[in-house]
């Protein structure tokens, strides 16, 4: 039988390799999926360019951060990137509004089918993809500074005397914290402000909203502002945690889409829940539970294999498997999606 320490060790092990990483990864996905879901709710199309919009905003943050670092500005232990974040968001907003003005508004006026928007967003995706690389190049950029760890595995072991340690990085802590703040702010905005209510009404029924005097162009503009803000924050948090590379950001749209749909597209709560579902299932289904089993049986059972449900090659397939299952069983997602409520 396992004793108390064994159980604690198993818990620490799971926290270190499953809960903590999945939590911060989930928060990053959730922020991205929120942007996708908002655009979907208001403009009614799946924005394939979201990943590259993230990359673009983050690129500005990275460049400003480099400049600040060169000037010797620092807000240790918080990463300098946070100083640069507002500028990045501002530029990303301008970019998004500019794209809307030049690309999407034309189709909105003609009330074309949603698929046309999707194809247009593919065009924007290519464009931003090239633009980002023109400016900053395809290289990996590391712009994180400040303190690295909240808790470090070695310290944790010394502190608790357990055999297994837990690490929590500053970037992980910040990611979760910022996500919570952003989500609260967003919900407050959608529920309490005039503009937020207008957006929800517009998302619910466009024609009725127009009749009640809501200016659609304004709603759309605000949507892009929020989406660009979310994208830049998500991209920056992701970049701080890992590193900035344009190619990675394009790859991110797959799990983010999965998160948005699984949760119920158009549903902010759904996007958040979806983000965590995707992140946790990716990590949990591919984790090898051998060591945990060892602790829990007090070393009594040493399994032959690694007790891995699915090999990591297919980890991203998991999000789509969930996606397909959800679409089959409950096509509107976990929280009945389509409109923002």
């Amino acid at each position: 039988m396992p004793d108390f320490v064994d159980i604690l060790n198993a818990l620490a092990l799971m926290s270190n390799f499953v809960f903590v990483p999945a939590l911060s990864y989930g928060a990053q996905l959730a922020l991205g999926a929120l942007g996708i879901t908002l655009v979907f709710g208001i403009l009614r199309f799946a924005n394939f360019a979201h990943g590259d919009q993230m990359a673009f905003g983050t690129m500005v943050v990275v460049l400003v951060t480099f400049w600040l670092q060169a000037m010797g500005v620092s807000i240790d232990p918080v990463p300098t990137a946070f100083l640069a974040l507002p500028i990045g968001i501002a530029v990303a907003i301008l970019m998004s509004l500019g794209i809307d003005r030049t690309v999407y508004r034309f189709y909105r006026k003609r009330r074309v089918a949603p698929v046309i928007y999707v194809v247009a967003s593919v065009g924007v995706m290519y464009l931003l993809n090239g633009l980002t690389r023109f400016v900053i190049g395809p290289d990996d950029q590391r712009f994180a500074d400040g303190a690295r760890f909240l808790i470090n595995a070695r310290e944790f072991k010394e502190m608790t005397g357990l055999a297994e340690g837990i690490t929590i990085k500053v970037s992980q802590g910040l990611t979760v914290l910022i996500s919570i703040i952003v989500v609260i702010a967003l919900f407050w905005f959608l529920q309490k402000t005039r503009m937020g209510k207008a957006m929800r009404a517009y998302s619910d029924n466009e024609d009725l909203a127009l009749l009640s005097g809501i200016n659609p162009e304004k709603v759309v503009a605000v949507t892009w502002i929020i989406a660009a803000t979310l994208a830049t924050i998500a991209g920056t948090m992701y970049g701080l945690d890992k590193s900035f590379k344009p190619f990675t950001y394009f790859q991110l749209i797959l799990p983010m889409f999965a998160a948005a749909i699984v949760g119920g597209i158009g549903q902010p709560v759904g996007a958040i829940v979806g983000g965590f579902i995707v992140a946790f299932s990716e990590v949990m289904l591919t984790y090898a539970y051998k060591k945990v089993a060892l602790y829990l049986t007090h070393g009594g059972w040493e399994p032959e294999g690694l007790l891995q449900i699915l090999s990591t090659e297919y980890k991203f397939a998991i999000s789509f498997l969930i996606l397909v299952v959800v679409l089959l069983v409950r096509p509107t997602g976990i929280f009945r999606g389509k409109v923002i409520t």
């Binding site: 690389r133 395809p138 690490t167 190619f247 991110l252 591919t286 051998k290 690694l306």
Partner: protein, 396 residues
């Protein structure tokens, strides 16, 4: 170049764009400037162009020809676009030889379908797939990076000698990583080691915590990382250190670079790695030369790229012609003993020796020795990270 003129004469045309090609020697640099390894390739191209500049500046190649680099995008993955680029460089730009390509897939496609049929010498700095050793290349295909089969054996020997009896392996999910992991596993298990888990990682993906979690659960003390230093490989090491999963690593040539230490410093002390080369001073000289020319010489496959370009140019000098058919036969002569050893930065001297009928043994940055099928023999330095610095333990 001659072929273009010929093609033009066949069609009774004056080739507008390539008319100016006569005055200079053009070398194609075909690498994946876009696509999955787009962050690795600019450094490789710079290194190759460094060798070209060195030769041009010396004014000694074939009586003072200048060498011009023509870049082409192999995209690393899209063989169709890569072949189109190679075709254009050869038939339109009139390049004399190709420094490239990078990924084994596109390299095979270009070699089989474009370079060999057209009789153009191609020297890949980084395609390490053992399958390329056996392509029908008519002697036109070379590489300065040894085949994976060799490096896997070396890595296994290192692990065994260090008393590592059990190891977890992660590799970048492409032919380089997979090939290396396969050959390592085979050699290691044959020597009595135990590979506890093999986990591939995709480069450029969002998150590696799942991979590290699985690797850590294997219970092994050491992790073998066969990836790229600025890609998933670094992500894996970062995540392993952060979570305390692994403290020391066994790394291969795609990882063994200064930038690894810039990132991790002494936190990866005890890590052992391989780097093609011998104890010859070539590697250090290459970094020095690169620095003096304002190029960062440190990074995966940069030294190999420099050597690839240098070898082509020296072979040209030896053949007395830019014709690939002639220079392909000189490649082994200039790369191997006997002769005066040549290090990076000494290309001018080498050109002079060859011009005066002497023999050179190009050592270069990675101590190149070309063997039978036109590939590097594969001497490796065993490097140990101590106090945040690489120290050479021995040569294998």
């Amino acid at each position: 170049m001659k072929k273009v003129l010929l093609a033009s004469s066949i069609l009774a045309l004056s080739a507008g764009l390539s008319g100016a090609a006569q005055a200079e020697v053009k070398l194609g640099v075909i690498l994946g400037f876009t696509g999955p390894i787009e962050s690795v390739t600019p450094g490789m191209a710079d290194a190759a162009e460094l060798a070209m500049k060195e030769v041009s500046d010396s004014g000694k190649l074939l009586g003072g020809e200048t060498v011009v680099s023509v870049r082409g995008d192999s995209t690393c993955v899209d063989s169709a676009a890569a072949q189109a680029a190679a075709e254009r460089l050869i038939t339109s730009e009139g390049i004399a030889a190709i420094m490239g390509a990078d990924c084994s897939g596109v390299t095979g496609a270009i070699a089989n379908n474009v370079a060999v049929p057209k009789g153009i010498v191609m020297v890949s700095p980084s395609a390490t797939s053992p399958a390329l050793s056996t392509i029908e290349d008519n002697g036109y295909f070379f590489r300065t990076a040894p085949s994976d089969a060799r490096q896997g054996q070396v890595l296994s020997d290192i692990a065994m000698d260090r008393g590592i009896k059990e190891i977890a392996v992660t590799y970048t999910n492409n032919d380089y990583g997979k090939g290396l992991a396969d050959s390592f596993q085979a050699a290691y298990e044959a020597a009595g080691g135990k590979v506890s888990i093999v986990v591939p990682h995709e480069d450029g993906k969002a998150d590696y915590s799942a991979e590290v979690g699985a690797l850590a659960a294997s219970g092994s003390e050491v992790l073998a990382v066969f990836g790229y230093v600025d890609q998933g490989g670094r992500g894996i090491i970062q995540s392993s250190l952060d979570t305390g999963a692994f403290g020391s690593f066994l790394i291969a040539d795609g990882m063994t670079a200064e930038s690894l230490l810039e990132n991790f410093g002494d936190s990866i002390d005890g890590t052992v790695g391989t780097l093609p080369g011998t104890d010859s001073p070539g590697a250090a000289k290459f970094l020095e030369v690169a620095k003096s020319m304002g190029v960062d010489g440190d990074g995966p496959f940069r030294a190999e790229s420099y050597d690839a370009a240098a070898l082509i140019l020296l072979a040209m000098q030896a053949a007395g012609s830019t014709d690939s058919a002639a220079l392909k036969d000189k490649m082994l002569d200039v790369a191997n003993a006997p002769g005066e050893p040549i290090y990076p930065g000494e290309l001018a001297k080498a050109l002079e020796i060859i011009a005066s009928g002497g023999d050179v043994d190009y050592v270069g940055a990675t101590a190149v020795e070309l063997i039978g099928p036109g590939e590097a023999a594969g001497s490796y330095k065993e490097l140990l990270v101590e106090g945040g610095k690489y120290t050479t333990v021995q040569i294998r």
